[in-house]
């Protein structure tokens, strides 16, 4: 029981990190960034590439992981900004369908671009976290798991601080409410949107590195399912709401962990997606989402 909760928490913190980017981008420009899951994958591959270039393999040091984490975050953040600049910005006034299709194209490009470079087979991630653990309250907890949860929690706290306390964060919230009015008030909308993409993508990149270190193997399609799951998490929490994304991620992690315990691991994804459909049917605004009055 406790073990299930703990496992759910670990997976859930990955989901939450990716869901945050989804939710932020959706909140600010109402775009489902379909390629977000692939940024997560890119994060893992950036870490893999850097470490391989230095000839490092099978390391277990936590400081090294942190360095790689930072590096991946910056890189994926910049890639995210680049994608926004090239593919999404020219279409900001287009119908939603067009932007969504573009996002699918970007997702394809990233996935199969990585496949061309690194090959279709899974790669072993060079930094592993040791799996020795202690028994605590009836659950098995490893040091690496604690490190992951702490890093995830730290990143979320930093994000919450940025959005709630800084000038930039205020601008983001303003644009989410009304981009035109924000622009009239002197907010540089393009720059703020770039910032949002940077932050969201770097969080996804961080999650990718952490997942690589946790599971030990990465492949070019690893972002697809987690992108879907993160979207589910964002919807459960209420899309556009940051705390909702965190809550939704953790909740989905738990649900999956219990769901696979009850129905069997092969039904895990079915369980999650069925839950998404049910949630959208009965409470499309999510747990913390505000009721949106559709203006005519």
């Amino acid at each position: 029981m406790m073990q299930l909760i703990w496992n759910g928490l670990i997976v859930g913190s990955f989901y939450a990190l990716v869901a945050l980017g989804y939710s932020m981008v959706y909140g600010i420009i109402k775009l489902l960034n379909f390629a977000h899951g692939d940024i997560y994958m890119l994060g893992a591959f950036v870490g893999f590439f850097t470490l391989s270039a230095f000839g490092i393999s099978n390391e277990t040091s936590i400081p090294l992981l942190l360095v790689i984490l930072l590096l991946s975050m910056v890189t994926t953040g910049l890639i995210g900004v680049g994608i926004e600049r090239v593919a999404y910005r020219p279409l900001r006034r287009s119908p939603r369908l067009a932007v969504l299709i573009t996002a699918i194209g970007v997702s394809f490009t990233l996935e199969y671009g990585v496949r061309q470079i690194f090959g279709p087979n899974p790669e072993a991630f060079p930094v592993r976290l040791e799996s020795t653990g202690v028994d605590l309250l009836g659950m098995r907890v490893t040091a690496s798991q604690i490190v992951l949860v702490v890093i995830a929690a730290g990143l979320m706290l930093v994000l919450a601080h940025i959005v709630e306390r800084t000038r930039e964060g205020r601008a983001m919230r303003a644009i989410a409410l009304d981009p035109q009015a924000a622009q009239l008030m002197g907010v540089n909308v393009n720059r703020v949107i770039s910032t949002v993409f940077f932050i969201g993508s770097s969080l996804a990149g961080a999650a990718g590195v952490m997942a690589g270190a946790y599971y030990g193997s990465i492949d070019f399609l690893m972002g697809f399912v987690i992108g879907l799951k993160a979207f589910t998490a964002a919807v459960i929490g209420g899309i556009g709401n940051l705390y909702g994304a965190m809550l939704g991620g953790l909740l989905l992690g738990m649900l999956e962990s219990f769901g696979s315990a009850w129905f069997g691991g092969e039904w895990r994804d079915v369980f999650a997606f069925a839950f998404l459909i049910l949630f959208l049917t009965f409470k499309p605004t999510g747990l913390l989402g505000a009721r949106v009055v559709e203006r005519m």
Partner: protein
């Protein structure tokens, strides 16, 4: 004459904002009624409630003997499931159903089907009146051909009626603004309404276009269709309306003939505030105010 539309104590609340606050009025068969009021007075919100796009917080709307606002049993209110049930189509009337009952509307910001031709825009509005089944469409039976022919003839009749003289195969986005307004009215008429709601039909029209709009609305009335219009252009309202309802802050503050309204002190106060400057100055300000509002609105949707 009997009442075609009865609105009683209509209330609509968005969070803490009372957009419509206890509005009551009635529309008789075949009359032209104008609803006026300063910006943000809740005119369009009331329209949206009447045509069932918004679900009002309380109140009743009866059109042609049929209730447009449905009461949900108290138990669902208590379980807070009303919104969910309404989103599934329970305890509410869909706008499409209201249209089938005979209430048509236009929108404040033109909302034509952009990727359809002028003719197809009008044909689309005849959806509910067309006998055309799935198999007959697939097989192009004589019945289908007849229905399409009748549909096209009817649509062209409406286009001629509103005085549209351009090519019917043009895409609506290629039309000038005034022509688009005409097509929108033709489209609303094609649903074969008993009551036509026009939301600011004169917004953004030039002088000549406004004059022909006045003619058109009179022609529509002559068909026996009641017309309710929201309008800022007082000249047009005074010329057309048989009765005027004035709203302010979601409440009705006056209801009467144009002569009664212009001399009503409450209305003047709502429009001009309570300072006693020279009357002529007030007039001038009324003009510039509504000008500014108008420009603002036409610019906001680009």
């Amino acid at each position: 004459m009997s009442a075609l539309l009865e609105v009683t104590d209509l209330r609509l609340q968005f969070g803490g904002v009372k957009a419509v606050d206890g509005l009551s009025f009635e529309v008789r068969e075949g009359e032209i009624l104008a609803v006026i009021g300063p910006n943000g007075a809740g005119k369009t919100s009331a329209f949206n409630c009447i045509s069932a796009f918004y679900l009002p917080t309380s109140g009743s709307v009866v059109f042609d003997g049929k209730h447009i606002v449905r009461e949900a049993p108290r138990i669902w209110h208590r379980l807070r499931l009303v919104q969910l049930l309404q989103s599934f189509g329970f305890y509410r009337v869909l706008p499409s159903r209201v249209t089938k009952w005979g209430m048509a509307r236009t929108f404040q910001n033109l909302r034509l089907f952009r990727e359809l031709s002028v003719l197809d825009n009008v044909k689309t509005a005849m959806h509910a009146n067309l006998r055309e089944g799935f198999w007959s469409t697939l097989l192009h039976t004589p019945g289908y051909r007849r229905a399409e022919e009748a549909c096209a003839r009817e649509a062209r009749g409406w286009l001629d009626f509103v005085g549209y003289e351009g090519d019917e195969h043009l895409y609506v986005t290629h039309l000038p603004y005034g022509e688009q307004r005409r097509v929108e009215i033709a489209r609303a008429l094609a649903t074969s309404p008993k009551l036509l709601l026009l939301d600011e039909p004169a917004a953004g029209l030039n002088y000549n276009e406004k004059q022909s709009l006045i003619e058109l609305i009179r022609k529509i009335r002559a068909l026996g269709v009641a017309v309710v219009l929201i309008e800022h252009d007082m000249g047009l309202v005074m010329k057309l309306a048989e009765r005027i309802v004035v709203l302010n802050y979601g409440k009705e503050i006056a209801d009467g003939t144009p002569e009664q309204i212009t001399s009503d002190p409450v209305v003047i106060e709502a429009y001009l505030g309570v300072d006693d400057e020279d009357h002529a100055v007030d007039e001038a300000r009324l003009r510039t105010d509504s000008d500014a509002q108008l420009n603002d609105e036409s610019g906001s949707r680009s």
